[in-house]
């Protein structure tokens, strides 16, 4: 391990961030917020242009003759059936984020937008913006990262690393080695901080659920600490033994619970209202999604630009932080598929699922606010972590659904940390598909420490800005490897 400088530097860098955050949480949060504020102001246009171009690239690849190229040998067949493959894609995209933001995000947008337009238009636009954040653009970032990894790994025979495309296309030169090394480091850094954020979000969500079940109010950091300790204990065992099948089962269980919850809320909530909202949002989304990708709110007031930075830009860099992690996962399950199949599966299917998910959870929230005058917006202001549970408490069998949500959040976080520890160890060991247990455990500890930092910040906004700081440099890497892919495709005979 000590002969590997990338691993040592990556561990030192992420470890130092964790120590800084534990010693001076407010200082790190303030620093991150200031830096991301400056970067977001100067580079908002570049972030939005980049993610829009990634989406256009995906669409072009799918419809171009390159769409016929296989991710593997020409006679390779997909390892998984299409249904299993699509289910696994759901699992990659369906994280604790959807459980957390299902109702909270659309209502947060509504709270801002209603100051500028009619209430009904504000609700429609709030749902559109939420779908925009979780839809085609998000999945295009994942799709391009995963496509590059799958293409250069399965078709060109390179290790699954972010640096591989540069070495494959431009050869083993000083600049490809150094930029490649830096890219692997930035990927590791982005994944580690991104997963730390997910741990914090999961703990906040579980904490609110437990408070709701036990009738506690503002339990503070002690309950978060207990939940965090249980989480850490739960992912140590899977890191020490090969539990790949067991982890798949846990991930599928979390998916099944989330799916059950979705159907339950659809059926026990105002079903006609939910289905009408979903139908409307599908048309609205596909009519406006591509032009909206270029929107930067330049001429709006400071309140709107702040909202744009803290939501749209933050989500886009959040997806960038997760891109190397989700990209590796998607690449590994997509061997033998054509580029066309891959892109249609990766960007379209999860987008429809997200539209359905947010359609259900936001409509229940909007129904409460607009039809029943329920105080959900107050909950949003005082304790955003409780929004989902507030909605569930107003539906039948609330104890059962809250337990299910807590369990699903717990399983999502555990499976994410175990998978991320594996990917981080693999990246840091030059693409070794069987990284040493000791390395995985060290990464598990670092991820736990980063999660603790974000829990100590006790603020979802602080979590967002810390992730932004880690993920922003990765946008350059995604664009660079996309160029490598385009250059490599030129030499393909199609």
């Amino acid at each position: 391990m000590f002969k590997n400088p990338l691993l040592l530097i990556a561990l030192t860098l992420t470890g130092l961030i964790a120590i800084w955050g534990i010693i001076d949480t407010a200082g790190l949060a303030q620093f991150s917020s200031t830096i991301t504020g400056v970067l977001f102001t100067s580079r908002a246009w570049f972030i939005m242009l980049s993610v829009s171009l990634l989406l256009i690239l995906c669409i072009w690849l799918a419809i171009s003759p390159y769409g016929k190229i296989k991710l593997g040998k020409n006679d390779d067949e997909p390892e998984f059936s299409t249904v299993s493959w699509l289910t696994m894609l759901f699992a990659a995209g369906m994280g604790v984020g959807l459980l957390f933001w299902g109702t909270a995000e659309p209502l947060s947008h509504f709270n801002v937008i209603r100051n500028y337009t009619d209430t009904f238009r504000a609700a429609e636009h709030a749902l559109f913006i939420t779908n925009f954040h979780w839809g085609l653009h998000a999945w295009a970032i994942y799709a391009v990262t995963g496509l590059v990894m799958a293409y250069f790994s399965f078709r060109k025979g390179y290790p699954i690393l972010v640096s591989s495309p540069m070495k494959a296309v431009f050869g083993q030169r000083t600049w490809t080695r150094s930029v490649g090394w830096l890219s692997d480091l930035l990927a590791i850094y982005a994944i580690a901080i991104g997963i730390g954020g997910s741990i914090a979000m999961g703990v906040f969500q579980i904490q609110s659920g437990v408070e709701s079940l036990l009738g506690l109010h503002n339990s503070g950091l002690w309950l978060a600490g207990v939940i965090f300790a249980v989480l850490c204990l739960s992912y140590i065992l899977p890191l020490t033994v090969d539990l790949s099948k067991g982890m798949a089962t846990l991930s599928n269980t979390a998916m099944a619970i989330a799916g059950g919850l979705l159907i339950f809320v659809l059926l026990t909530g105002p079903t006609y209202y939910i289905m009408s909202a979903i139908t409307g949002s599908i048309g609205d989304y596909f009519a406006r999604v591509v032009p909206h990708g270029f929107k930067t709110y330049t001429f709006f007031d400071e309140k709107v630009t702040n909202w744009f930075q803290s939501w749209t830009l933050t989500f886009m860099v959040w997806w960038l932080a997760w891109a190397p992690f989700v990209g590796v996962f998607i690449a590994r399950i997509s061997k033998g598929r054509t580029i066309r199949e891959y892109i249609i599966g990766v960007i379209l299917v999860p987008t429809f699922f997200s539209i359905f998910w947010f359609g259900v959870f936001s409509s229940v929230g909007f129904y409460g606010v607009l039809k029943l005058d329920a105080p959900i917006l107050e909950v949003l202001k005082t304790n955003i972590n409780d929004t989902t549970f507030f909605v569930l408490r107003h539906l039948p069998l609330s104890t059962l659904t809250i337990i299910a949500t807590v369990l699903a959040a717990f399983l999502f976080v555990v499976t994410s940390v175990v998978s991320a520890s594996f990917v981080l160890s693999m990246f840091a060991s030059g693409g070794d598909l069987n990284p040493p247990t000791r390395t995985k455990l060290i990464w598990g500890a670092i991820l736990g420490a980063l999660g603790l930092v974000m829990i100590l910040s006790n603020s979802i906004d602080a979590v967002k800005s810390i992730i932004g700081l880690a993920a922003l440099p990765f946008i350059f890497i995604v664009l660079l490897v996309a160029v490598c892919l385009l250059k490599a495709l030129k030499s393909e005979v199609v």
């Binding site: 593997g72 078709r155 060109k156 025979g157 296309v169 431009f170 050869g171 160029v483 393909e492």
Partner: protein, 45 residues
């Protein structure tokens, strides 16, 4: 020029330079033999 403007200019000049490098890399002709024999497109087999 205020410090804020100066930083903004620097950050954006970096982006312009990066875009320029990407375009140059895309059109740059690569010498034959960048790929080793074992790493040539396995789809060609």
């Amino acid at each position: 020029m205020s410090l804020k403007n100066f930083i903004d200019t620097l950050l954006n000049v970096w982006v312009f330079a990066f875009i320029g490098i990407l375009v140059w890399l895309y059109f740059k002709r690569e010498p034959e033999g960048n790929e080793t024999e074992s790493q040539k497109s396995v789809g060609d087999n």
